[in-house]
Subunit: 656 residues, 2 copies
């Protein structure tokens, strides 16, 4: 059976919300060499390396001060707080990452480091449960007084998430108990009751963490608190405005004050919001939690709101690389169709947030559109965030760089033309570290009657005591996947395999026999499964051109190249400088090609192109350009800048 | 005789510097309807209107406070200083503009307003000659203490320039005497002598003003002081750094401190400078004065420096519209070939500065390259600065706008999508007002033996008691010019007519007979002139495409349209939105066309183009765009945004 996927209409229909959940990491195994490379890199190199960074033991990196802050807060050392007001979150995310890694791989050494860190966190925690070294060390009287700027609830959220991960991975309760004490304090402090603070976090994050905590503890009060934060946000009068007018309010980030309500999505209540606005990471974390709550409560109005926001994000404001946040001012969303390639912000964390938001949307409404976005963000902007050697990171992920221009014009000052070892604001590196080992959470979702294979990752997944599935695929090298049934699923159990958005034709067989499976919402669905059944799906994977809506002025006359989940770019390393002078044929034939310095796990391409010839130094001329034929080499966007500094370009001019 | 101008090699040769000077306004008459429209607009509308603005009598404009500051400083009113530290310069430039206007047209009413303002300025001036209301009103002890930020010398420079203009126009000495007292104070305060301040202005301007003052008074000490400021700048240790470390230094613009030496061209001495850097207006004013001094002293080393800077400015950093300053951060130059069309700064004042700098280069080294740049800046970015009705102004002149994007992304916050009535920093409107009535200064230069016609402006010019020339031309409607000799120039007198850079073929006749004139440095030169001789030059004027060097990534795959001196743009008013979806044929046939709301004095064009068709709301697609034929209408760039807010685009995609 060959299906023209582009013929399918896949609108979300009015239907009951699903009760899918990601499959626990414990029930998944990864054998994919592509993903195990990353997971090993995180576990064996990145996490030990980041531990050194948190301990200020890497000489040429920006100082962190993070562990030292905890030691000071714990009374083990004397000194001043160092770093940003949200410095604690780096350790929290590191612990979260360790948890996700340990869920997949035993590593006694790493576990010992994490246990020592948790011990330290426990010592720093105050007797009432409070935990934030910035305020513990020298600003005790300013606790909870500047929610707009101070990230206390954000840091708390990351500790709670880390606690859940670490508990899930190791069964150890110490960090979970710390998190519970902290969450209990937050539940008592925030609310509309007498003496409570009727506020919400300046940077969303606690909401989703509290939902996770309620799931692992079974205690609904954390869920209620998450609802409180979600629904209170944007109510009138605006809490942040009220707070900033109180005597003694101490501003930390005046620019946040200037950017006002939309920056933190507190300009109106979520039910009324229609447009993705403000700081992109904040927005993603907010919408993620709201989507989860909407699903949990079958709150159709809230679901409609988050769906509008998801559509606006991905349908009006998302780069082809799955990057979001078009402007450096406030690391924020801007107008619809404003997708500048050179001044893009596209924070790595924002794309991680987009994966999470899309995952929550999917869990409630299984539709492959959400998986498509997860894949786009993951294989492009998220993987771009980390160097091949795991020691350098991108915070900002532009789609075009000309280093001499980026360095000479301060409007590009946020763009780094080479990955950095660490950052003063180091949110992205540990966020990557906690996301990549957690790949199976995005790959599989199940309820008692369904398994969704969202991402193609070799390995296996157990859905019940009766049934598991092994998965074999060379993805992302090709689009084929074989799922073998192990055990006996119930007669009505359904296996759903996502049809990738990029494939034109798909072929399915069961035990070698071509069959016509049910197709719904972008998934091939198989039922009536028996032990040892082999389901094979072959998706045609060919390089193709992507065009942008003409309203995206930045991409006019241009095309991007995609092959499987990877968006490609041209780099100076392969093609010389002046990449803007290259144009690709609209009917370009692509061939696979090696690119020096790019590992074999990434397929590189070459294509016919032309280059403008300009035989003078004049800035302008009335002479037409000459043209010469040129073989254009393309590498996956996520691999760029692993071979030195140079120009890079995703959107290529095309000959018409 | 037909000459293929593009065949000419016009390199500046090692030769002695010329002693050309602009012809005095008194010796020129303008009959051009194109230019008289502007001169009348300035005299009859803009200057009376700006007088109201300076007096805070325009209700919906940003307040100025300028006249009131002088009244307070003069003791005629009580109150606080209002506005920016350089607010005084608005009045100075207004007086300068009035001077240039009165030199061309009698206007008793305007002269009376100016006299009253001068009276007021005289009352505000301190007994020692000091004049700056910001410091007179409430900061007397801070005089000259923050040259980096405070613009005292800049304001002084503008008063001196105004005094020279007003004296030249009216013969009245009152403002000139004020200026002399002020200049005398400055000469006594600044220098390397004991008790003197070894500094120089944060914003260059005084240098050129002092040169003018020395010319009008015959007093060389002002010239020496100009040399001092030019040569002292950039010496080590850096004066601004020293100054900012002194106790009691009060910072006004911390951003200037952050931008450091290159911002104010004080990073090294002018002889060592090779690249146009920093604030574009500052740079232009600095180079202009340096070029004049180099010419005056036949200082070849200094001339080589300013020539390098001119080449760098116009050969690496100038927009096709004659705009300069690619970045809003510091209103500054950025890297070579960094010419973003959307985030361009291109301040109107900077292009006025570029005209002045090019004029000074020309006076020393007559070469039509300089005239070409004057014309490019004048007919495009400078004229763009003022609306048809003379009541609204652009400060920033981008080459592309999409209003929804400009308003939604704060990196474009400097871009105004409609001209403004006035600005908090209102340097540009009065700068335009003083430049346009001064058109003949740029049009004609002469010494005893030569007259250069640089710009084609109908009217007449007298070069001596014996000889004058009348000029007839419909320029910029066509490229023909007829010069009639009136009187008897000496036998070796030479008339030089610039060959515009945009013309491919040129034909010259004397008294109807085709002749082969001498061509040198881009000028047609005629000698042996007799009374009533008629010299006619016909330059072929056809619309053509301009291409940018491929290093200009922003213009890759695009072309600009030029016709005569005008660069054209597409506007939403004529072509609908999504201008990026339009592409022009490389071999497009152009025809003249009317555009509703554009006055007939501007020729509008239409050309064959295609528009991308996109039949979905999808942000991305693998489907090729459809195409439809479309007649593209183009209007001169300087006329944009006179018909409401909408998209505008200079660089058009071209079909290849």
């Amino acid at each position: 059976m060959n299906i023209s996927v582009t013929m399918l209409k896949r609108l979300i229909k009015e239907k009951s919300m699903s009760t899918l959940n990601p499959v626990s990491q414990h029930d998944c195994r990864v054998t994919s060499s592509f993903w195990n490379h990353y997971i090993d890199l995180i576990g064996k190199k990145v996490l030990p390396y980041q531990w050194k960074l948190l301990n200020d033991e890497v000489p040429d990196a920006e100082p962190s001060g993070c562990i030292r802050n905890f030691r000071i807060a714990a009374g083990l050392e004397k000194g001043e707080f160092y770093g940003a007001v949200f410095q604690d979150s780096d350790l929290a995310k590191w612990l979260d990452a360790v948890g996700h890694y340990l869920a997949m791989h035993e590593d006694k050494e790493l576990e010992a480091l994490a246990d020592s860190a948790i011990e330290l966190v426990g010592k720093a925690q105050q007797s009432d449960g409070y935990l934030d070294t910035y305020f513990i060390i020298s600003n005790q009287d300013l606790r909870w007084k500047n929610l707009r700027d101070c990230h206390e609830l954000y840091c708390a959220g990351h500790f709670i998430e880390a606690a859940v991960s670490y508990f899930n991975a190791t069964g150890k309760r110490k960090l979970l108990d710390i998190a519970i004490r902290l969450a209990d304090l937050i539940c008592s402090v925030f609310g509309d009751g007498e003496g409570q603070i009727p506020g919400y976090p300046g940077h969303e994050e606690i909401e989703f963490a509290l939902i996770k905590l309620s799931e692992v503890t079974g205690n609904d009060k954390y869920l209620d608190q998450a609802w409180y934060f979600i629904l209170k946000r944007g109510s009138k009068p605006n809490y942040f405005e009220e707070e900033s007018r109180r005597p003694g309010f101490r501003e930390v980030f005046p620019e946040i004050g200037r950017l006002a309500g939309t920056y933190s999505q507190s300009h109106e209540q979520i039910y009324d919001q229609t447009e993705a606005v403000g700081h992109a990471v904040r927005a993603m974390y907010f919408y993620t939690a709201a989507a989860r709550l909407a699903g949990k409560n079958s709150d159709r109005e809230l679901m409609a709101a988050v769906e509008r926001l998801w559509e606006n994000t991905t349908g009006k404001k998302m780069y082809v690389t799955g990057g979001i946040g078009s402007t450096s001012i406030g690391e924020s969303f801007s107008s619809a169709y404003d997708l500048p390639n050179d001044s893009a912000y596209c924070e790595t964390c924002a794309s991680i947030g987009l994966m999470r938001f899309s995952e929550e949307m999917f869990l409630t409404h299984p539709d492959s559109r959400f998986g498509d976005v997860i894949e786009r963000a993951l294989y492009n902007t998220v993987l771009s965030g980390i160097s091949f050697d795991g020691e350098r990171f991108f915070y900002v992920n532009p789609l075009m760089t000309v280093p001499s221009i980026d360095k000479g014009n301060p409007i590009f000052s946020h763009v780094r033309t080479v990955r950095q070892r660490w950052f003063g604001v180091a949110c992205c590196p540990p966020n990557i570290a906690r996301t990549l080992p957690d790949i199976t959470t995005y790959a599989y979702a199940a309820d008692g009657k369904n398994l969704y294979i969202q991402l193609y990752v070799s390995g296996s997944v157990r859905v019940s005591d009766e049934a598991a599935f092994s998965v074999e695929t060379d993805y992302p090298s090709n689009g084929n996947i074989k799922v073998t049934v192990c055990g006996s699923p119930s007669w009505d159990f359904m296996l759903h395999v996502r049809i990738p958005s990029w494939c034109d034709f798909i072929k399915a067989t069961v035990n070698g026999n071509e069959i016509e499976p049910r197709i719904a919402d972008g998934y091939l669905s198989f039922t009536g499964l028996h032990d040892k059944d082999e389901i094979e799906v072959q998706s045609s994977m060919e390089p193709f051109l992507v065009f942008a809506n003409p309203r995206v002025a930045a991409d006019a006359g241009s095309a991007a190249v995609q092959y499987g989940p990877f968006v490609y770019c041209a780099e100076e390393a392969d093609n010389g400088p002046e990449l803007a002078a290259l144009s690709i044929r609209s009917d370009a034939a692509f061939s696979k090609a090696a690119a020096e310095g790019i590992p074999e796990r990434f397929t590189c391409l070459s294509a016919e192109a032309e280059k403008d010839i300009w035989d003078s130094d004049d800035l302008y001329s009335t002479h037409e350009y000459g043209k010469e034929k040129k073989e254009l080499k393309l590498v996956p966007y996520c691999t760029w800048n692993n071979r030195g500094e140079g120009e890079m370009r995703v959107w290529l001019r095309r000959m018409e």
